[in-house]
Symmetry: C5
Subunit: 258 residues, 5 copies
């Protein structure tokens, strides 16, 4: 569970609600308007539906889940495991890796080790792994793109809703007492659009960008590790090289030492 | 037919209409104003007419059709066909490809195979195919550019129309009862511009970008495949190489296996 | 004459005028205000005068003329001529090109041929031609830059004028009946700025970008052609190579065939 | 202490306070509204909490401290020290550097010298130092990113607060005398957002960018210096090369001469 | 003196003043408000003070002077002088250049020639000159950056001032007759910010970019010329090569011929 995302969303939403509740003469109910919600949420979703292939759009929920339920990549653990596999390979040969496959949780690493055990040529292994990595990067980009666009279209449909509300209000000016409430309703869509964009979609897109980058970095480390193992490199050298990919405080051996 | 585009456009438009209809005291008729439409649509089209060569502008309808009637590129099928051609070429020689030309639907692939059969030199074939690919990319860019600009000019002419409406209204303030309706009409152009931009042109441009990218990727695969066939590469190697261009779930052999 | 630019500008302007004329209770005269014009046009020109060297600014009229009187580069013709020159050179030697100089209209091609006839070394010819090409590109960029900036400063000075008008109006509120007309006048500068930017300068800048790109592409083709001629390449090979620079439907030999 | 940052912040804040105090009929108290502060500050912080991993957010205070308490990198001093170490190494061998380690304050330089003394291979030293440098750059980027986002979200939540205030006000129009004060309160959040962004976060982010760049340049100089020392280069040559990294007026030997 | 900058600034300012003076019912005095000036100018300067190291900020006046008192680089003259020096060097040896040093005004060229006479190695000369060139480029970038930021912060503080003015006005609505004037004063800061940005800082920054580019181009020509002289190249070849850096109409020999 990503504490920061959950706390940020809860605190942000609470603050806005509290600010409304404590304001003199205001009622929370004045801020709930279903047609406005329909225009902003529905409009933004429609625009995104047109913008992307259906498949990308349907991946949205999986993508949003990631914002809350991502677990930080454990670079140190990945490197440690690769080093341990390298030791096995050096001591008992590449075929001995098969026996250790069960211990490996990371499916990408399993794929690489499996191909190594099968005696696949190094270039082919790298090609296959990189193609997999590229496919993940493309899927990431598509997922983040949908969230980005929601963050861009939500305020636009907020403005569209406000314009519609103003035009309706301006056509009913015979009853001056209704002007205020008409205008209040009109402004609600802009408010919805601004909140959806700034408290939800734009921060989500930013967080996704970070998560995706970590995930790809972990895959990159696996690719390099598998290459080193297959080349029969010294496990210490492999560790040293892989450690240069991650900041000092998340390195494998240094952690052990700490 | 691109379901997502159609559904998105219909749902988006319906939502806005429903929101107007269910609003108390509003009439759909208040949202239809032909001169406003003329200013926004006409203005944006005029600006685009000036911005681009006539040819690009006239291609607009063909481009828009693509948003709704594009069919997803079948990468798996393309690769399968190239592999099958490679097998024929390996077994029976390059000239045997001529007999299989009828089975090939993709005109770009036909061009490449034809040149291969004719014994054209590899560099020339690649030059010709790449030049064709570049021409398609240029045409794509021009087409998307027109839609992009419509999405940018529509809100601008919406604002121009609103300013004109406000100036007219402000010059007729002797009758205060008409102020509201005058202002409502003035705002309609801004509404039109915002809807045209955010529900139509910007999402269309985004989808076009995606479609074009897929089309060029398919052409790139054909170019690589033809090169491999001409070089007499092993069909399995060709398949393996071409598969690295597409995400795992759309690959040729894996699909067959599934 | 660039039909699209002319039609676009006329249609756009007409639409706006018609929209004003058919609006009930409006007079075209209410949209003409010389001081407002002075602020927007004068202000944008002043800002551009400061932004660029005087020379660039003075080139503005030549640049604007280009938007209307550009003629599409005839790539097919240029390539055909280069191929014909290559045939002459191959048959009768480089010196024989001198006799064909009169038939060449393109001054850039004349320069290259002349140097070839004079026996200038290939590297020097390419350096000189590329330097000329770069100088044209720099001039293009400067010219487009001025139009771009006008498109950016016009709305800014429109807003400045409106702010000035509002401040004057707000200082004279003793006569409430004048508020409406005061505000109308204030808004006119914003309208002028928006129209100048969106109907004139921004589309002009876009078209200029396209024209300039075509012009440089034509020059690039000449440079490559001259190099091929001087190297004594086969005219067919030269044609084939130059044709890869232009989209298939504007190629030399294919046109002849059609 | 960074005088410019302190003076800028104090002068900017004072100017705004003075402008309010000297305005006729205004009271400073009208500009203090705790719920508004809560919405803007709390909202921006919530959005940033969602946008970044918790660790990056918690680094914010350390990052902000840097804006006020950074000390300019002393490039001349760093180069002088590296040259002096190079002289020792040349005269008495690399091992003699151990005795000079105490004089070195820069921990990054200590790390490099220590590895040199330990006889670590040059490539490994450079890998380790560069990895450290990259980690610092990543940390910098993350820190600046948080400040950048605060500068972007603060005005957004200012607008959200104003919309909420307007909706509350418009729902209570029965008492016209309260309209003015309700609107004043509504506008305060926009004011807070604008001040926070333009007087604090955006300038801070800009300054951070400069400080970070200097810090990385200093590290780059150390990396190059250590490489030169290990290679046994002439100390004068090392000085000359390192000096090309810094502007003439901050160079080592020229300073001594001045 | 840069005529275009002076004329642009005078014409722009005059136009705005005239527009105010000829407007019916307006007084120039209504546009002068010292506290507003304080907020916009002071606020923008404060923000820039925080954004940049003090040194960069203090260079602002020197930078602004350059906008008005820059003299166009005389590329033809520079090339002519380098060619003349090359002739001396070829005829009488590199040491003979010492006698011609007095005729050279450009201090950057003096530095290069001096090092050539001193027999400094070519790589070292180029390193030193390029380091100098980079330092100038860095100084340029810093100077332009300050002006850019002033152009960005001025409108922001204009808006801040207007918000403050509106809040004060809305708190004093008991006297309706003062509303107009209160709002007028509030808008003045936005006007100041817009004028400062669009008539002064943004155009200045643009001009600075152009001047800096010319200055660096002149330095680049000197570096290449010195290299050619030291290598003992034929003066004609040097001239030909240097001329490719400048547009045809500002070339050395062509000017002489004209």
């Amino acid at each position: 569970m990503d504490i920061a995302s959950v706390v940020g969303l809860l605190v942000g939403a609470s603050l806005l609600i509290v600010a409304v509740v404590i304001a003199p003469g205001s009622a929370l109910g004045a801020f709930i308007d279903y047609p406005s919600m329909m225009v902003v949420v529905g409009g933004a979703i429609s625009a995104v539906l047109i913008s992307f292939p259906l498949k990308n759009f349907l991946g949205l929920f999986r993508v949003l889940k990631k914002v809350f339920f991502n677990k930080q990549e454990n670079f140190g653990g990945i490197i440690e495991q690769l080093v341990s596999l390298a030791e096995t390979a050096r001591r008992d040969g590449l075929l001995a890796l098969e026996g250790k496959l069960e211990e490996v949780a990371n499916p990408f690493m399993v794929l690489g080790i499996q191909m190594t055990v099968d005696g696949t040529r190094p270039e082919v292994i790298e090609d296959v792994l990189r193609s997999e990595l590229d496919a993940v990067a493309t899927r990431h980009k598509a997922g983040k793109g949908v969230v980005d666009q929601l963050g861009r279209f939500a305020p636009a449909f907020g403005m569209i809703g406000t314009l519609m509300g103003l035009i309706i209000m301006l056509g009913n000016m015979s009853d001056p007492s209704s002007i205020g409430s008409g205008m209040a309703v009109a402004l609600i869509t802009t408010l919805y659009g601004a909140i959806m964009s700034n408290l939800i979609f734009l921060p989500f897109a930013q967080k996704l960008g970070f998560i995706n980058q970590q995930e790809l970095l972990a895959m990159e480390i696996v690719v390099r590790g598998i290459k080193g193992i297959q080349a029969g490199d010294n496990p210490r050298v492999i560790e040293q090289k892989l450690n240069t990919f991650v900041p000092p405080n998340t390195r494998a051996s240094e952690k052990k030492a700490a």
